[in-house]
């Protein structure tokens, strides 16, 4: 028998609960592997599948690097880990939960700014007036770079943010942010507003397949069976 198919799913939080619910509905039952402290599992009736419980961003990185075959995590994280997903990661099926928009947001006091074109003007004026670049706090450096480049904006710089990004403008560590929002309530509470054309990505949880991983025939067969139960087809991994 060949190496097992590896499937990575979220180890904690709301996303884990929703994955569990989706599996239950599809009749996929996970069995905790003894002694693995809850970070490993197998699938009942699918002996060739090894399930790894990882953090959402680790799953995205593992898919991009080919360290796992299949994974479930947010599309935002996958696109951040693999900015050019072609040939590295294939999105097999949106799963209908974990909805979040990745948006560009600025202080609400900037009443003269509602579009990316406005932000472009502001960035240039800011660099000219303050002799430094306008700072954008985000954990989505790759998504931000691509989106800003498409909008023709270059006079800015990214400030990496590990958490509580929406507080950066109030804290004075950045002028604008790129972050996820679901209802916009957190943005509002922090005195921020999303730009009209500032939606970088409408994200949700995805069943994804690593094209960077090594695949053999048995793994492909196992993946196809598992994906079918979740209503998806696997991609060509060649």
């Amino acid at each position: 028998m060949s190496e097992p198919l590896t499937l990575a799913i979220p180890s904690k939080g709301r996303l884990k609960e929703q994955v569990d619910a989706t599996f239950a509905k599809a009749g996929v039952a996970l069995v905790q592997t003894a002694g693995a402290r809850g970070y490993r599992a197998t699938v009942e009736g699918h002996p060739g599948v090894d399930v790894m419980l990882l953090s959402s961003s680790e799953i995205a990185a593992a898919l991009a690097d080919g360290d796992v075959h299949l994974g479930i995590t947010g599309e935002d994280l996958i696109r951040e880990a693999a900015p050019e997903p072609e040939g590295r990661v294939a999105l097999l099926r949106p799963l209908g939960f974990g909805f979040a928009d990745v948006v560009v947001a600025v202080p609400r006091t900037w009443i003269d700014v509602s579009t990316m074109a406005d932000l472009d003007d502001i960035c240039a004026a800011y660099a000219h007036r303050h002799k430094r670049r306008l700072r954008v706090a985000t954990k989505y450096a790759q998504l931000t770079r691509r989106f800003f480049a498409r909008a023709g904006i270059s006079d800015y710089r990214i400030v990496p943010s590990a958490g509580a990004t929406e507080g950066a403008p109030t804290a004075g560590t950045a002028e604008a942010i790129v972050d996820i929002t679901t209802t916009g309530a957190t943005l509002r509470a922090n005195g921020l507003k999303a730009l009209d054309d500032g939606v970088i990505l409408r994200s949700q949880a995805q069943l994804a397949m690593s094209l960077a991983a090594e695949w053999d025939a048995e793994q492909r067969a196992a993946a196809a069976t598992l994906a079918a139960r979740l209503g998806a087809q696997i991609a060509n991994s060649e």
Binding site: D112, I122, E175, G191
Partner: protein
């Protein structure tokens, strides 16, 4: 060229010979040699070059967490040295060393460069730098090359002269070299753009604007200002309000701008084309056009055949700090030298406002590969 070349004795000799010839010319014209550190604070470049250069910069962190980088160019640290040394102007500095950038092909490359800083007479500075680069290339044995010239000042003058909504002048100047994006931008401007805030201010007299804008900002309550000042917001909205609630770009103006940027070819006929195109604003264009003609005469006098010099109207070099005259020298081996005017950089480094700068950089390894020397 291999990605990680090791130069042997012959190549070192050839490179030293080329560099020696170039630096010899620089020295003969009073340029003093400087050698900036290879390892630089990342901030120095980040704040001046924008995210695109940053992406090309090799960044690293030292054990204490300081963000460093391998110098992506030698111009900025050389200029910084001049500002911090407190030395007088005009100053003439030069260098030869490695620059480092993430890019296809070579991640590190040698360049020799010269910077002429703080010479008030821009025409004189442009002429000196162009002649210096030319003489240095010839001293290094390069006889055959073609040139591309351009001037960001020409386009800026045109935009200021034409009937363009005031708030969009900067946008046009900033993006003129972005092929594709710029055309889409022009089309959007012709279609017109609704301005929500400006609409709220519609019909107000100039003196009523400021309090009305302040009131709109106050309505947002405790929200942060994010590093901008209220004055900046008031200023921008005042300009927007002067353009009306739904500004539009005249299609004829957009067409003229589009036609201007398409001009490209042998320099003398190309300049003539520009003259004809911009006849409606001839009074404003006469000075920068005369300056370009002057440069072409100078090149001819220095023995560069006019048919070897192309003028490209949209040529602004994809480097964000150039502001005026720009030039490049090409051979079949690729670009061997380039340079131009960057009048805003020194101020950002702490020099007095309006301190001018013009410089050039010569790719010594490419000269060596092209068999110079």
């Amino acid at each position: 060229m291999a990605s990680f070349p090791t130069y042997g004795p012959e190549e070192i000799k050839a490179l030293n010979k080329v560099a020696g010839a170039v630096l010899g010319v620089f020295a003969a014209h009073g340029y003093t040699r400087h050698e900036p550190a290879i390892l630089q604070p990342a901030q120095l470049f980040v704040d001046r070059s924008g995210e695109e250069i940053r992406r090309r910069t090799f960044e690293l962190t030292d054990p204490s967490g300081r963000e460093l980088c391998l110098r992506p160019d030698l111009t900025i640290p050389t200029c910084k040295w001049q500002v911090e040394s407190g030395g007088g102007y005009p100053a003439r500095l030069c260098y030869h060393g490695l620059a480092f950038r993430h890019q296809p092909g070579d991640g590190e490359f040698y360049q020799a460069g010269a910077e002429l800083l703080g010479l008030a007479d821009r025409a004189q500075g442009d002429a000196e730098m162009m002649a210096l680069a030319l003489e240095a290339l010839r001293a290094a044995g390069m006889g055959e090359f073609s040139m591309i010239v351009g001037d960001l000042g020409l386009f800026a003058t045109l935009v200021d002269a034409l009937d363009v909504p005031a708030q969009w002048r900067g946008r046009l100047k900033r993006h003129f070299w972005r092929t594709g994006y710029f055309e889409a931008l022009l089309a959007r401007m012709v279609a017109g753009e609704e301005q929500r805030a400006a609409q709220a201010l519609h019909g107000l007299k100039l003196m009523e604007l400021k309090p009305a804008i302040e009131a709109l900002i106050d309505r947002e309550g405790e929200a942060p200002l994010g590093g901008r000042t209220r004055a900046e917001i008031v200023e921008r909205l005042t300009v927007q309000a002067s353009d009306g609630a739904a500004p539009r770009l005249d299609p004829a103006v957009a067409e003229l701008i589009g036609a201007f940027l398409k001009v490209s070819g042998p320099a003398e006929p190309a300049l003539e084309e520009i003259r004809v195109l911009t006849k409606s604003v001839a009074a404003k264009m006469v000075k920068p056009l005369a300056a370009m003609t002057e440069r072409l005469h100078a090149l001819k006098a220095m023995g560069v055949p006019p048919e070897r010099v192309r003028f490209v109207a949209h040529f602004g070099r994809n480097l964000e700090y150039y502001t005026g005259f720009v030039f490049e020298f090409w051979t079949r081996a690729g670009e061997i030298a380039g340079g131009g005017r960057y009048d805003t950089l020194l101020e950002t480094l702490g020099a007095p406002r309006g301190t001018t700068a013009v410089g050039c950089a010569i790719r010594t390894e490419r000269l060596m590969a092209a068999g110079a020397g």
